[in-house]
Amino acid sequence: MILYDYILSASCYKVRLLASLLGVELQLRPVDFHPGREHQGAELLALNPAGSIPIFVDGDLVLTESAAMLTYLAARHGPDWLADADARATALQQQWLAFSHRLTAELGGARLVEMLHFNGDLKALQSNGIAALRELEAALFARRVAGGTFLVGDGPSIGDIACFPYVALAPDGSISLDPYPSIRIWMRALRAIPGFIEMPGIHRLHELAPDPFAEAPS
């Protein structure tokens, strides 16, 4: 399985992250996205006419949408991550995967303008990004009140992985996450899953301060 990858791309990171959580090894092929714009070059356009990354290749299967890559990895290596126990869960999973595209376009768009000199209407991207964050916060709050931690089902699923990176990187586009406590608890839970890996701008969970009441190790 080959992933055409860029270290600063949150969409590429989604695939790297799920692969790590599932213990699956990916062969990474670095793409000079910035400053080289290699994704717009002939070789990669032949693989993905949309001119976007990531691109995922497994034998004769070529995937160009990160949600499809997550679905494929989960279906093959960790079906629990599909969270498709019933019709309702299956539909909600699709809803969150689709919702993640809004996060990519708006929060990701603001980040590209603010960080890497891309063109775009920053104010509009930020406003739309904040609207999406407010929706996510409301949904996660409702989940918490009902006793859940993640978006669909009892455990983490591909919907969480699809939404998490651009949310966590919202500050890169000058959007604060301070107003969203449910989102922050959800991110904390995702970062605590064994096998979690970081990307630049998303730091790993450093160990919490030692418990002052714990007995000293003998």
């Binding site: 860029y6 670095p30 400053p35 290699e38 960080m115 890497l116 630049p200 701008g201």
Partner: protein, 280 residues
Amino acid sequence: MTTAAVRNAWYPVGLLSGLSLDGKSSLLLGEEITVFGSRDGVPEVESGGRALPVVQRFGHLWTSLGYPGKDLFTIPEADHPDRTLVDVGVVRVKCSPLRAVENFLDIAHFPFVHTDILGAESHPEVRDYKVEIRDEVDEVWATKVEFYQPQAAKSAGGGITTEYMYRVPAPTCCVLYKTCPPRPGEWDVIALFVQPLTEDLCDVWPWMALFDEDSTLTELIHFQQLIFVQDRSILENQIPKRLPLDPAMETPTRADLTSVAYRRWLKRQSYTYGAQLVAE
């Protein structure tokens, strides 16, 4: 505040490989500039109808709003023909340009911000090192800096104790020389060139001159962007936003000797753009 030292300094404003013939708008010290590529001649930078001086060096275009009294510094080590020269590309950071330089000079954050790459949480100690302001060249130098690094460079196979030298040849530029895993005895050169857009916003242009025959250029770019963007979120959250030059503002530790010398050197030449002179 733009003092003579601020206006007369050289600043990076673009990658020579990425200039636009139509011109690209940017900011320098809060003033609007336009950077033009050139098909056959010398690139141009214009501000308010005035042509600014330019220098092409280290893969970047440099300019000044004032009248630089001296040439842009050189990095003789980088001229070796076997080195791979890496244009890493710009990253915009909402921080003081001086904060960006100071962070680059700091070693103590490696285990916590660049965990398992430039440092390990199990090895946080910064050993003694030597810092001086070299008056004859008017530069800040830190030498004999040693640090344990799990993956010091793209070319490093595993954990090694890396030796560093830091050099501040201009107020918004810093160059670090570090142990070069494939060529003992030589130094890898990694530089950070900072374009001050305003006092709390900057464009950072990292650049490298490395001995590395095994990694692709893209892999080298990714490695440096990985490191620098790990710093970015930290830089954007530093308080106060502007670098305090008043020694009463912050209490340094021994590990901060380079930073102390850098601040003292800035103050001595009245380089105050992005700095805070008195406690607020």
